[in-house]
């Protein structure tokens, strides 16, 4: 077994453990490369099936191609596709692009808040009806108690301290200074009523590992990651106003792998294109304590 085989096996073990232990389980699918690989790993773990809802938080400012890709894959792979949104904030134009609030506050409203209330079932969830191909209001309003998330330890400091199974309290807050122990392949799968657990199957993967795996498995990845001839591409996907492309001419997976392995990005952190991280040294930890993915 090589590095990727070990990573794959560990992730599958974690996904199966989550599926067995959590009755109300969902996977957050941000459409980006990480969670798409995670979805692929789920299909590996469950022999071609994804036996839980895939939840997308639609900020309404996502790059439009992302929504097209999401719905196309949902149909092709027969996914139980669900999305949620902060309709209030969008209606009242309480967003950064509308000039009402700063980037961090916008992230909080459109992502953290939307996520928290979508997971808890307090806000409307829209679910894809595969017969009509349209989204309908989801009648299931039960809170998700297990939430699978594609965070990686190499992304930034607070993520490097995460657990594979990471508890969140009633307010979705993360008590990073007092995390539960986790040994061998025994995880925190017992939790008090009202709390939930975030599950992180990709914690040990690096950005390069992901692309090598995409290359090996031929995972269908959204083409925003590839240069379309303009000399720029996205290295990580988020909202259009806050995600910058990077200068790169990598046009396919092989070229991205090369670029990360020994090329221009072999030494440059992935999130350097995310504007909200730059604001203060610990902004991401702050966001994450409050339930950000």
């Amino acid at each position: 077994m090589d590095q990727l085989d070990y990573l794959e096996a560990k992730s599958i073990h974690i996904l199966r453990e989550a599926y067995r232990e959590f009755k109300n389980l969902c996977m957050l699918w941000s459409i980006g490369k990480d969670s798409t690989v995670m979805l692929w790993l789920a299909r590996k773990a469950f022999f071609g099936h994804a036996p839980f809802p895939l939840v997308h938080i639609d900020t309404n400012y996502k790059i439009p191609a992302m929504i097209d890709y999401r719905d196309r894959m949902a149909r092709e792979w027969k996914l139980n596709m669900v999305y949620g949104q902060n309709t209030e904030a969008l209606k009242n134009k309480m967003t950064f692009p509308d000039g009402a609030i700063d980037r961090i506050a916008c992230c909080k409203a459109l992502k953290s808040e939307a996520l928290k209330h979508t997971l808890s079932g307090e806000w409307t969830r829209w679910r894809m009806n595969h017969e009509t191909g349209e989204y309908e209001e989801d009648s299931n309003k039960e809170p998700y108690t297990g939430v699978i998330v594609g965070a990686r330890a190499d992304e930034e400091g607070s993520r490097s301290k995460e657990r594979y199974f990471s508890p969140r309290d009633k307010q979705s807050d993360w008590d990073v200074d007092d995390q539960p122990p986790e040994l061998w392949s025994y995880y925190k799968t017992d939790f008090a009523p009202g709390t939930h657990v975030r599950i992180h199957p990709l914690l040990d993967w690096t950005e390069l590992n992901l692309w090598e795996y995409i290359q090996r498995e031929q995972v269908p990845i959204i083409d925003l990651y590839f240069d379309q001839g303009e000399g720029t591409r996205y290295r990580s996907l988020g909202c259009l106003p806050c995600t910058l492309g990077v200068q790169s001419t990598a046009k396919n997976v092989d070229e991205i792998v090369e670029e990360l392995r020994s090329g221009k990005f072999s030494n440059v952190a992935e999130r350097s294109g995310r504007a909200q991280d730059a604001a203060d040294g610990n902004s991401l930890e702050t966001l994450r304590r409050d339930g950000y993915m």
């Binding site: 773990a45 469950f46 190499d154 061998w184 925190k188 952190a269 610990n282």
Partner: protein
Amino acid sequence: MTEMATRKSEERMNLVIVGHVDHGKSTVIGRLLADTGSLPEGKLDQVKAMCERNSRPFEYAFLLDALKNEQSQGITIDTARCFFKTEKRHYIINDAPGHIEFLKNMITGAARAEAALLVIDAEEGIQENSKRHGYMISMLGLKQIAVLVNKMDLVKYEQTVFEKIVKEYSEFLGHLGVHPTAFVPVAAREGDNIASSSLRMPWYEGLTVLGQVDSFTRPEGNLDQPFRLPVQDIYKFTAQGDDRRIVSGTVETGTAKVGDHVIFYPSGKETIIDSVERFNAPETTEVHADEAVGITMSTEIYIKPGELMCRADELKPNVGRRFRANVFWMGRAPMIAGKQYKLKIGATKVATELAAVESVLDASELESNHNKQLLDRHDVGEILLETHRPIAFDRRNDIEPTGRFVIVDDFEIAGAGVILERVTETDSIFDRQIKQREFSWEAGEVSPADREQRFNHKGKFIIVAGEPGSGRRNLAKKVEKHLFDQGFNTYYFGITNQFGDLDQHGTIGTIQRDRQIEILGELARIMTDAGLLFITTLTDIDEFDLNKLRKLNEPNEVFIVSLGDPALGSSAIDVQIETDPETDAAVRKVVDELTSQQVFMDFSI
């Protein structure tokens, strides 16, 4: 093809760095990352600028201590993973905290590792957690340890200081049977012997930290051991049009292939491997240690998640309810006798109790205390554990992965342990509890014999066991009606009124269900003592459940009517109903057997 060939050789190793608080663990790693150019571009400058802004001296540790509270307190709170690559391989280095308060976080990091670096401050010398961490590392089963004697600058790079620590600490590790791969004198902050050899310690001729790390070898022994596959789950995605029944889990040790004769423990069910199932991967007929696999069986046998799949031609695992173990306790509340905990071992979960504390070790002094009867936070105890149903396991010295477990207390993992050996079950906690109950049972002035005289029959607990839809409830109710019409005292107890799990498929072996069995047994004891013919139905009952019910119902007896429950062996059954259970013939068969077992007084029938 060459592309594939290079990638194939890529391996990864997990390391942990441990040691007493402030001895310089994070600095070693920070310096290692900086000196090998492993940091993302601009990261070092960013941290330096941050220190300047807050007018505090720059620390390499800030590269890893990323949490707000870590930076403000200058201490590591939780283990950080960092990624690092040498010519030889990829690493994840787990930078563990040294403060005793965060020992659970250190354990979390160390349990992920295949080799350890242990840091000792040359000036402060060996401290409490230098020893405690050394002990924990060996208990967790790490065999490769390199000791870094740090801050050599503070002792003027003197060889004698280094040699003294080497001697003392080697002795300590020797008591644990651990032999470190190497001792390396370093000054992490100054970069001596981290990535390049130090000119200030010409007397040292060994490897640098970097060289040391690359000289560790990846333990590959798991393939040669007996096959062990804890069954994580059994999938059948019928709703998605997939009819395969796939037994899945991660192979801990060994190998198996299609056609192999396998046995599941503790049930003892046997079958043959029919196929290996995979998604988007070439077909294969073999599975190996560390792979997350799916297997189909050649016969439709009934097994449950949590069982341990083994090969019939290899070493059998232990099956039992009692074992001796070394347990490290992390819970805020102590581990005590008389309290129920949850044990997780392999893929199974079971209720467990502390049967005895044999000794408690102070892991920093290696001193044993034989008088203590509980485990406090941070104690390491040699204890006896008893589970509420039999489990399959190995001695950690035979097969490590299936010889280790955790204990959950109140939603949290509170203990971690390794199994030393199986212990016989005579005089178990359960037996003692029943004995105690019977000994102090307060009876009225009416004896069981008086009741028998009056009622013309004995008290009896009648269980109708069968699958959902087998007609078990109707049969039970008909038997009740028949007996009642004959003038006997009988009561049909609708099991779902109290114990939903006992009437469902797939809950067997769960802690909730085991608890329900126990309450049902206690209830039956009272009802049969009252002289009743107490009738109920159960689904998915195995022989262990049945024995438990028998014991709980003592001194009265249990009578089993089976409608072909697959989990039940034939020896335990009093009446087997093969025909339609909803007929009078079936009722008569039950009553005839009760008669022949002399449940009724002769003259009453």
